[in-house]
Symmetry: C2
């Protein structure tokens, strides 16, 4: 039984967070955050597949892959520290050193994360000052977690948090997290910044395994605009303070933990999609009856990434031909004359294509269904038993406005 609770990164035992106004790029708002664990944590991470990797990604990857332990994360919004060369790497080191000194832990136990404009150098003096301020404000309260979730926002319109509890080995285990979107979001490894904390006691190997398996069906199934960022990072820290018997094999306890993690990440992934830059609706695409899981993933991602389909969703237009067209160029063989397509939302359900041909559906009813803030398209390929779900959003005037003028 997985139970949703309020809170985010500070929900699990042993975690504290804080936020600070460091004046990096934004004015008059929190733009740095810190996450700190009372004990050294087992750490797992997954990172962008982009050939161009931001400095913080390189820094974190080394720590997570080589040591698998960490105790703090320092985050900033406004500047991505990407395409910044050796100077950018040096700023990661200096940030970690500053945090390590003030927190009394080794610099190599400090992870860093940045999001914002590519190409600019971080104002390192402000980052160091901000790091000190953050350390003095650390708190385990729900509101401290919420402030951190707000500080990492860029074009996000709402903070994104989620936490659940589950019983493992007779103990209450908590998994919580926060993340930020909302542009340069496209399936390929994790697709934004997400920070997850848990008090479960689990081996580092299985912690990483659980995360890697999970991102395939959650963050990697989100697309806002087809652009895979240079900074995508998902970090998962486990304090082990829940007191459950350590999970060291893929048993029922593991499955319980994996299910809790899935719940948190699915929720956060959908929040990212629904808060995509300029979005007015969460667009969910379920492909069923595919010949393989891989096919289902490709097909659902193709539809969720189609600019024409996204614009039609914005216009509340049941332009199902665009959906069929996007299935057709996914690079997956299928019989177009078998496909069924259904739109569903809180306002109802309507089958618009049957065996590849348009049904005589009511445009009026379809428009009503497509006017909801969460629209789902279900494509039945009738080629097999496999399925996948992808999440995106509509393509709006506001997306263009945000991105035509993001740097200024």
């Amino acid at each position: 039984m997985i139970k949703a609770i309020s809170g985010g990164v500070t929900a699990a035992q042993g975690f504290r967070a804080s936020a600070a106004e460091a004046g990096i790029k934004y004015q008059g708002r929190m733009d740095m955050a810190m996450l700190f664990a009372d004990v050294p944590c087992r750490a797992a991470g997954t990172f962008t597949t982009n050939v161009v990797k931001a400095a913080p990604v390189l820094w974190d990857r080394q720590i997570v892959c080589e040591k698998g332990t960490a105790q703090a994360v320092v985050m900033n919004s406004g500047i991505a520290n990407a395409c910044t060369g050796e100077e950018g790497m040096e700023y990661c080191r200096r940030t970690a050193q500053a945090a390590g000194e003030v927190l009394g832990i080794p610099a190599e136990n400090v992870l860093v994360a940045s999001t914002g404009v590519i190409g600019m150098q971080l104002p390192i003096d402000r980052i160091v000052a901000g790091t000190k301020a953050l350390a003095s404000k650390l708190d385990s309260s729900e509101s401290a977690g919420n402030e951190a979730a707000r500080a990492i926002m860029t074009t996000d319109t709402v903070p994104k948090e989620m936490a659940v509890q589950v019983t493992i080995g007779g103990k209450t285990v908590t998994v919580g997290g926060m993340c930020k979107g909302s542009g340069m979001i496209h399936p390929n490894m994790c697709t934004m910044l997400s920070f997850l904390t848990t008090d479960v006691c689990i081996s580092q190997e299985l912690l990483l395994h659980a995360l890697r398996e999970d991102v395939k069906d959650t963050y990697n199934m989100v697309s806002v605009d087809g652009d895979t960022s240079t900074n995508d990072t998902v970090l998962l820290l486990s304090s082990g303070l829940a007191g459950n018997p350590e999970i060291t094999e893929m048993n029922e306890d593991y499955e319980q933990f994996a299910a809790a993690l899935r719940e948190v990440n699915t929720c956060l992934a959908k929040k990212i999609a629904g808060d995509g830059e300029g979005a007015t609706a969460l667009f969910e695409v379920q492909v069923i009856g595919a010949a393989s899981k891989e096919d289902a993933v490709k097909l659902s991602k193709s539809v969720v990434g189609s600019s024409l389909t996204k614009a039609a969703i914005y216009g509340h237009d049941a332009n199902c031909g665009r959906v069929l067209c996007a299935l057709g160029y996914a690079g997956v063989p299928f019989d177009p004359e078998k496909v069924d397509l259904t739109f569903t939302s809180g306002a109802g359900t309507i089958k618009v294509i049957e065996n590849g041909v348009f049904t005589d559906f009511s445009e009026e009813q379809a428009t009503e269904i497509l006017s909801d803030s969460h629209v789902t398209a279900i494509a039945d390929m009738k080629m097999g038993e496999c399925s996948a779900t992808a999440w995106g959003c509509d393509l709006t005037h506001e997306y263009v406005s945000i991105n035509a003028d993001y740097r200024s």
Copy 2:
């Protein structure tokens, strides 16, 4: 020496065209066109790679691939005749039959092409009536070709025509064409409707070879929105009336013809990109110094298809980080710390990234360069000797407006 001349599909010897108002979907404008040759032509074609192929694509592919000869093309805008099942195929047959009867040629020498909304059935009685009207108006004048180019437009804002002349075997050979964009345009085989005519005398085999080679570097390098249409078609008819010795091998005459064809198709491809839905600028991406041609193609297409980059071009914003990011997720290995990036236009040239790091460029000058109606980004990968050029356009508010409400 290739010489540009005025005109389009009627420029070459032996071709006539016409346009008619058939009332298919648009009101008060020409929406059908016909192309007719005085003699049976050798015919070559390339078609969409989308699994979902419109009925006219299936009809034409059979004629072009199995017979390689044709004498007429009947085109309509407004309805795509895609996702229309057996009924849609029957309408292709009836259109070709109607044209064949009135033109006095076999139905299997008549190609058909449709563009517009997916899923609706053609009003076949109007199509048949329109076909008869078209046959009575056929004319070899330049203006008849221009009217045909206007009749096949959908969201295009301007008709797109081009013609050139070249001397082959002592004879003047003409190659001309017309095409239409402008949404659902993405590299994968030909990416819109394009109709090309020539009076060169050439074997069917080499005609097809020339076309296939050419589309790789022209139409397939255009992307407006990443959506590969169900209807993409390029048709090339040769009347052989120029009187040159028949080209039957890959000799100098062939190279001359191929160069003329390249000139026409490059021009038409750029016109499609520059008139992409809602576009305010033609965006050209040249990748040089790639390790292979295939790499260069992937890299240039990735940048030209990046929504974030396209929005930045619209905003006249030298957001070069987005270009580097899009290179990074192209699926091609390279060293980010070697890349140089330059923006150039009629307003000047500016190097914005050198060896992977931002130069200290003038934002003011960059904005001026990016405010031109034709902006080129040149990325030097420094990995080898290969290059490729892709064409696209900026992503604008108008694109969203057009596509949120296209069907109504």
